[in-house]
Amino acid sequence: MKKILFAIAAFSMLTACGSDAEVSNNSAEVELTKEQIVNVYTHRHYEPDQQIFKMFEESTGIKVKVINASADELIQKMKMEGKQSPADVLITVDAGRLGRAKEQGLLQSIQSDVLEKTIPSHLQDVDNQWFGLTKRARVIAYALDRVKPEELSTYEDLVSKKWEGKILVRSSSNIYNQSLLASIIANDGEAIAKKWAEGIVANMSRSPKGNDRDQVKALVAGEGDLAIVNSYYIGKMLNSADAEEVATAKKVGLFSPNQEGRGTHINVSGAGVAKYAPNKENAIRFIEFLVSKDAQQIFTDANYEYPILESVAPTADINAWGEFKEDTLGLNKLGENNKKAVLIFDEAGWK
């Protein structure tokens, strides 16, 4: 008897859920015809983004539907969906992946005076296929008690003998490291880039592991004197719920390298309109909204990124590190040199 009851319960659950799903699907289809929407494929899994999307919905009445996954997976998904892809906008956290999406014919060129005017030209695609939304700098974090900022100068200097066994950096599978090396390839050439990667490997204090925050913790724990990290993670640590993390972040200084020369390597989180976007107009409005003053304010206040809009000041936490000169290398170069960078990493033994 129990068994039968169980079977009935299980079956009714199955059918109940099944019909629920159908109902919601049908209603979604009905909505499609009535409601304005924009389908967003995004790699940015940040809470503040939700807030920005909601603001966009309120001000335009266009509903934002989101698929979250890593940019690589999203690009693969768009490729497979082809013309049927529901994606309107692709958002990534680095320029390299946007370059890749463009290369594979997944994005389209768009006309937007707003984007054209707001975004510095080296932070957007030459063919207007993608646009930077926020900036992040890859900087050198140093232990305040052991290193003086005067000892630091450039990325290239990190391979000098004095830093032997002192450098902390994460795995080469990380896109920010790949972009950094890609920028060195673009600026100094492949041969120097390879020497540089080998030099860093020789100076590493431990085999690469963990994420950027872990490099900072290891730095303070004394495992090394310098760490190559993205600045906004320090911002996040300074505002962490864990008092210990806050204390840790306060024990490091940030140094922006290459100030005398080309400037510090920066990358963008950016967006592009999908080639087969079913809601192209909404997609453009959406991206324009992301570079509006309100949205930019949230990006920097809640996520500690550098706003792309010059009229918005970076939040106090990251402003404290001072202004710095940015490398104005066209970010297209990052995507173009990405694969070369990965091959060099392998050859240099950078895990």
Partner: protein, 554 residues
């Protein structure tokens, strides 16, 4: 059906085909159809194999492959050892002895499975980190803290073992509980010591069950991406992702997955071979449950400690760390929406669990009823999905379903209907993907219990003219119920924490707890990921406790 009608039994192709036509029955056809359906994504990946690897292959072989192989072998070896120690010892103690809190520990031992292994990895890193939990405690006691670096190969082997050993525990316990009693009594009567009985009798007999669990563990170990990446250990699977995304060569990634599949297939064949070698069936022992031994107070205490250690390391400690993080971040992260997402996750997981178990039952029994022997081996092809990284399966699913979708769009388009994608981006594709991915998880426990059902019972039923299906429902199903329910639970838990597949194939409006946890963790907000992780654990606890009640009542 045709008569072969020839007495020259040569092994020519002709006679083989003849024999196939003669012995072929509808069950064989059904089995083949189901295998084809479930293996379709794997076949699509396999086809790409003939294209060969991309141009960076020689680069990979030169700079990366040795490390991948070495690290993967290291993990396979040490995880096997640890998992066997934790899984088998706890299963034996729990089945054989009475000790304090035995009932609670019995189901607590399954729960480490409920925490995604990358989250366990984060939790342990958090415990041993600078400024981590241990560091803080030691500082409070004013003791110099010597940091143990857990983020390396050995640490990874530990983390994976401690979160995966329940696969072995579950299958070993099912054997000890239901099959071992008669032999145990006999051994006792012959005056054989407890220890000798265990090592000389129980362990060899339980081997098929234990190995079935172990194969699942190893598939999952080889497939792990999150924990390995975080701990900086490069394995086959991290290599698949590197060649796919960093080197931009999907064909090389597919090639590496295919190599991985071959390794797994070798593991499965090894398992089959060793089960056949021991060829056994204890037919009559289904009726009696094992008698538990009362022992002295000291012994009880020791046994309690032995059983508590894996629960402590695999569940209590990581959950404590997660709770601490949750406490720190609750005000910013907690949201009533989590309750809704929990319900969604629960619904998706339970439906997929039933679908997957249903397919596993079909495969096992159809191939049994088929008169052709090779069909049984063909059926096993269906379980390979577990060894393939979820992201790769997702691609394998999308190739045929998108083709089908496009065909539907074309057909409907002629009638002026624009249907859009019907299968992709809906729950159908997701359920299909889960069935492909987790079939092995359902197949193994059901198969190992069904092997123990002596064939004489269903045979006599069939002699009496009762059909296959009726025999199954009236006689066999009640006997393999334990295995079936274990399978439902295991698939349920696996779906609850599944990530890459879900990310790629999920519909817009559906969220799962695993996806929520990932959104935080991938942005280095490990602490914030603790709340959705805890929700996964608590949601998974519900059916685990329910299953255990069923097992005990039996």
């Amino acid at each position: 059906m045709k008569q072969a009608g020839s007495n020259s039994e040569t092994f020519s192709l002709k006679s083989r085909i003849k024999r196939f036509l003669r012995d072929n029955n509808r069950w064989s056809v059904f089995t083949l159809a189901i295998v084809l359906f479930l293996a379709l994504p794997i076949i699509f990946i396999g086809v790409e194999l003939f294209a060969g690897p991309g141009e960076t292959w020689s680069h990979i072989v030169k700079y990366l492959l040795p490390e991948y192989i070495l690290n993967s072998l290291f993990l396979v070896f040490f995880c096997s050892v640890l998992v066997l120690v934790f899984g088998v010892s706890s299963a034996w103690f729990v089945s054989r002895f009475e000790f304090p809190m035995r009932r609670q520990l019995e189901w607590l031992l399954i729960l480490p499975l409920a925490i995604p292994s990358y989250i366990v990895g984060y939790a342990y890193a958090g415990i041993f980190d600078y400024g981590g939990t241990l560091d803080l405690l030691f500082r409070q006691w004013n003791i110099e803290f010597i940091r143990v670096d857990i983020m390396n190969r050995a640490g990874l082997a530990f983390v994976l073992s401690i979160s995966l050993f329940p696969y072995v525990y579950v299958s070993a316990r099912a054997f000890f509980l239901n099959q071992a009693n008669n032999l145990l009594e006999a051994s006792k009567m012959l005056g054989v010591s407890e220890r000798k009985t265990f090592f000389k009798l129980m362990l060899p007999l339980a081997r098929p069950a234990i190995v079935a669990g172990l194969v699942l563990v190893l598939m999952e170990v080889l497939n792990d991406y999150g924990a390995a990446k975080y701990y900086g250990v490069n394995t086959f699977t991290t290599g698949i992702f590197r060649s796919w995304f960093s080197l931009e060569e999907p064909e090389t990634a597919v090639y590496l997955s295919a190599l991985l599949i071959i390794i797994i297939f070798a593991l499965i064949l090894f398992e089959k071979w060793q089960v056949r070698k021991i060829k056994f069936s204890s037919s009559k022992s289904n009726s009696t449950q094992i008698q538990r031994k009362e022992s002295s107070g000291v012994q009880k205490g020791l046994i309690f400690i032995m059983v508590f250690i894996p629960v402590f390391l695999g569940f209590v400690l990581p959950v404590a760390q997660l709770l601490y993080w949750a406490f720190l971040t609750a005000t910013t992260v907690f949201d009533l929406q989590f309750l809704f997402v929990s319900l969604q996750s629960f619904g998706i997981a339970i439906i997929s669990a039933f679908i997957t178990v249903f397919f596993a039952l079909l495969l096992i029994y159809f191939s049994k009823w088929s008169a052709l022997r090779f069909i049984k081996n063909v059926a096993r092809v269906g379980v390979l999905g577990y060894a393939i990284p979820g992201a790769v399966i997702a691609i394998g699913i999308m190739i045929p379903t998108i083709a089908l979708d496009k065909w539907i769009i074309d057909v409907l388009g002629q009638f002026g209907v624009d249907s859009g994608l019907i299968i992709n981006g809906t729950l159908i594709a997701l359920f299909y993907a889960y069935a492909v991915r987790f079939l092995a998880v359902a197949y193994n426990p059901i198969e190992s219990t069904s092997l123990k059902v002596s064939s004489s019972i269903p045979d006599s039923s069939k002699v009496l003219g009762v059909g296959n299906l009726k025999t199954f429902f009236k006689i066999e199903f009640p006997l393999i119920k334990t295995g079936v329910f274990s399978a439902v639970i295991l698939v349920f838990i696996d779906v609850m924490k599944e990530l890459p597949l879900t990310l790629i194939l999920k519909p817009y409006d559906i969220d799962t707890l695993a996806v929520k946890a990932y959104e935080y963790a991938s942005d280095e907000m490990v602490m914030e990921a603790s709340i959705p992780s805890l929700f996964i654990i608590f949601t998974a606890m519900v059916p685990v406790i329910f299953l255990n009640k069923l097992l005990i009542k039996k």
